[in-house]
């Protein structure tokens, strides 16, 4: 970002930071809003033979704005026996991990927030912060339902961190670097059996890693079929039970923002990020169309995530853990071994 802006016009430090903050907010909220509208309101309705919201704005596109307004004017209820400070801080802890995650995702050859050599490692480490937020929410609510939900969530999220990380290791081996920009470049400039037409998106060779990553992302977001922590028919939204009004909205937007960010991660790691074949990867044009291309790939990956969400019933907690420990982790280890061997051989 600093290079791009200093090329065009000289801005003071505080102006640059302000622009970065605004762009950061937009980068988190815009995919969240798009995903909520496209998938939660519209795709779910179409899969259920109905139309979804149609009244607020053309084809219901402003429904999310109406929902925000509705949540803003609700009464702020904190349960009497709740730990007030922890209760109020929990949504922000979950949101912090989302905002930190968006920092490492590049949207163009020069359009990035930070460019560190341990990009993907930083992303995976930071994504675990949300577990603390959920535990805080469940414990501070002083309600049995919330406690059950939070403990389930803690177990589930910690268990599925491992397949998430291990699935990414295969990509890192193939790209040869932890740097996110480097991974995109490796896919952009790579070749499949000598043909460099569309670069080398890692989904072709890392299809197993992509599948494991998607399943682990589904579990990290506590979406069905892994939504035991928020099992609506048993625990009345689990750790979220006591949250209402603006605080609930923060969790809600956080969930969809995180879905968007994880989808962006998957798009960057497996689908080539901001790269579109045909244009030179280092050209300035990509700084403009890069974010749009990334948004398109985010929508594609999110379509898969939400398609699974609306179709499947939920796993029981122990079946969920069995799936993580007995199926996903061995598969991802096999993936790493095979990738390493093939990388050395070829």
């Amino acid at each position: 970002m600093s290079d791009f802006l200093t090329l065009a016009v000289e801005l003071a430090w505080w102006q640059q930071t302000g622009i970065r903050a605004v762009v950061g907010l937009v980068a988190v909220l815009l995919p969240a809003g798009t995903l909520v509208y496209l998938f939660l309101f519209k795709m779910m309705s179409f899969m259920q033979s109905r139309l979804g919201p149609m009244e607020a704005g053309p084809h219901g596109s402003l429904q999310l704005l109406a929902e925000v307004g509705k949540f803003l004017q609700k009464e702020d209820i904190v349960p009497e026996k709740a730990d007030r400070i922890v209760f109020k801080a929990a949504p922000f802890v979950v949101l912090i991990s989302t905002f930190l995650l968006v920092l490492v995702i590049p949207a163009g050859p020069d359009a990035w927030f930070i460019d560190v050599d341990t990009g993907i490692f930083l992303a995976l480490a930071v994504s675990s912060i949300s577990v603390i937020g959920i535990l805080m929410a469940g414990w501070a609510s002083s309600s049995k339902y919330s406690l059950l939900g939070a403990l389930r969530a803690a177990g589930q999220l910690v268990a599925y961190e491992l397949p998430l990380v291990l699935a990414v290791v295969g990509v890192v081996i193939q790209a040869g670097t932890l740097n996110m920009q480097g991974i995109v470049m490796a896919q952009a400039t790579g070749e499949i059996f000598g043909w460099g037409g569309i670069g080398n998106p890692f989904i072709f060779t890392q299809f197993l890693g992509f599948a494991i990553f998607l399943v682990a992302v589904q579990a990290e977001l506590t979406q069905p079929p892994f939504d035991m922590p928020v099992a609506e028919s048993e625990l009345v939204t689990g750790y979220l039970t006591e949250y209402s009004g603006l605080r609930f909205l923060l969790f809600f937007i956080g969930e969809f923002a995180t879905a968007g960010i994880f989808a962006a991660l998957a798009a960057t790691l497996f689908l080539g990020g901001w790269y579109v074949p045909g244009i030179d990867p280092t050209s300035d044009l990509f700084n403009v169309i890069g974010p749009v291309v990334l948004l398109g790939k985010v929508i594609l990956v999110s379509f898969l995530i939400f398609w699974f969400r609306f179709t499947y019933p939920r796993f029981r907690e122990d079946q969920l853990q069995q799936l993580a420990w007995k199926v996903l982790i061995p598969l991802s280890l096999v993936n790493i071994v095979v990738t390493g061997v093939l990388k050395v051989v070829f």
Partner: protein, 390 residues
């Protein structure tokens, strides 16, 4: 004292006894959780108090009565047509089925038999309400387990059946159509053709459910082996309907019960499943919907001509007597015991509702299960609160 040799029943009785004694030992207090009465999972205002040890249920106790409307007392001061209009609301999903055993009991006391055309159409509407009721169960089982889509398909395809019931009776949910001696009105022209078209949609819905729910590995993992009810335990608790047929007991009042409806003239089969778990109860009901579609098709083809109402006086006064009639309702076995002293109103009507007996097994069944399985079991037992509490 009768011998109890089932170890689980023994453990349950021992648990009850130990609670009754003054216990000086500090038991490790499990968490007591109230599931309900306001809860998205229970089909209405049912409250189940479970004592948890981590995620395992140590004791469960259903507390009913939150929806008690005093039906049996109400019937003492309502005339027979008024009672018919009220009892629609006991099992509100398949509501024509509630009227039939009451009307049959009153007809038995009076010694009146409905003409054959009325009996055929009565059976037809009975099976249509069975389809409407069980289709909702199939969708609801999915939603209890977390799949949000099947229930929308269920409501969508159930609307067609309700439209057909509305075309005949005037009411989608509360037909109020059965009368002592026959039916209130005859069927309109074109109704049989339309209903045959609707059956095609219901069959397609059943196939969609096979693909979306039954074959789904996650659904199978959640329901196979969960909540196994052995046949003898089920019978001793008074389970009826698809719940007991899923445990392998070949008992169906449509085939084994009394007359009044024309099931002996149809070609149909009773579905059972040997396992007795949640999946079996779901599977038996799915097959029963398909079988009901076949029965409705045969019924539509063979409606005899004739009058729709026998010769009964305008103001019905049932002579003194009593009768008990049970039928195979969508939820199980429903029975009405009608006592008449010769008035315009019955002297006493005792309603044997299926869900009340079905839910009596929950303390025994829920012991030792996980909390998610509690929901799966309750969903598969399928009770309607109006049927439990009346």
């Amino acid at each position: 004292m009768t011998a109890v040799d089932d170890p689980r029943q023994l453990a349950y009785i021992a648990g009850q006894a130990s609670d009754a004694r003054v216990n000086l030992e500090i038991e490790t207090e499990g968490m007591t959780l109230n599931i309900g009465p306001q809860h998205p999972a229970t089909h209405g205002t049912l409250r189940i108090v479970v004592k948890l040890d981590g995620e395992r249920v140590m004791r469960a106790e259903p507390i009913m009565g939150y929806m008690h409307r005093g039906y049996e007392k109400l019937t003492e001061v309502r005339t027979y047509p008024q009672v018919t209009s009220l009892i629609n609301r006991i099992d509100w999903l398949g509501s024509f089925a509630n009227e039939v055993p009451f009307i049959l009991a009153a007809e038995q006391i009076m010694g009146v038999e409905a003409p054959p055309r009325a009996q055929w159409i009565r059976t037809l509407l009975f099976e249509l309400s069975r389809i409407a009721n069980v289709v909702l169960f199939l969708g609801d089982m999915g939603v209890q387990l977390g799949a949000v889509t099947p229930v929308f398909f269920a409501f969508r395809d159930r609307e067609f059946v309700l439209n057909q019931i509305e075309a005949v009776t005037g009411g989608r949910f509360h037909p109020n159509f059965d009368r002592i001696g026959g039916l209130k009105d005859d069927i309109p022209r074109g109704w049989t053709e339309e209903t045959k078209g609707v059956l095609g949609r219901i069959r397609k819905f059943c196939d969609e459910m096979e693909d979306l729910v039954t074959g789904n590995e996650i659904f199978q993992a959640r329901t196979r082996g969960i909540g196994v009810i052995p046949a003898d335990v089920g019978l001793s608790y008074g389970l009826s309907g698809a719940n007991i047929r899923a445990s392998g007991v070949d008992w169906d009042l449509r085939r084994d019960g009394g007359s009044g409806l024309v099931y002996d003239k149809l070609d149909w089969k009773v579905w059972t499943h040997p396992d007795g778990d949640s999946f079996a109860r779901y599977w038996v009901r799915l097959q029963e919907v398909r079988e009901a579609c076949n029965m409705v098709e045969q019924l539509l083809d063979g409606i005899p001509s004739g009058p729709i109402m026998a010769k009964v006086p305008r103001i019905i006064k049932v002579p003194p007597g009593e009768a008990y009639v049970e039928t195979e309702n969508p939820l199980g076995v429903m029975g009405y015991y009608v006592v008449s002293k010769g008035d315009l109103v019955p002297y006493r009507v005792k309603i044997r509702s299926a869900s009340f007996s079905n839910i009596s097994i929950t303390p025994w069944l829920l012991e030792g299960t996980y909390v998610p399985d509690v929901v799966s079991i309750l969903a598969s037992l399928y009770f309607i609160l109006g049927d439990i509490d009346r």
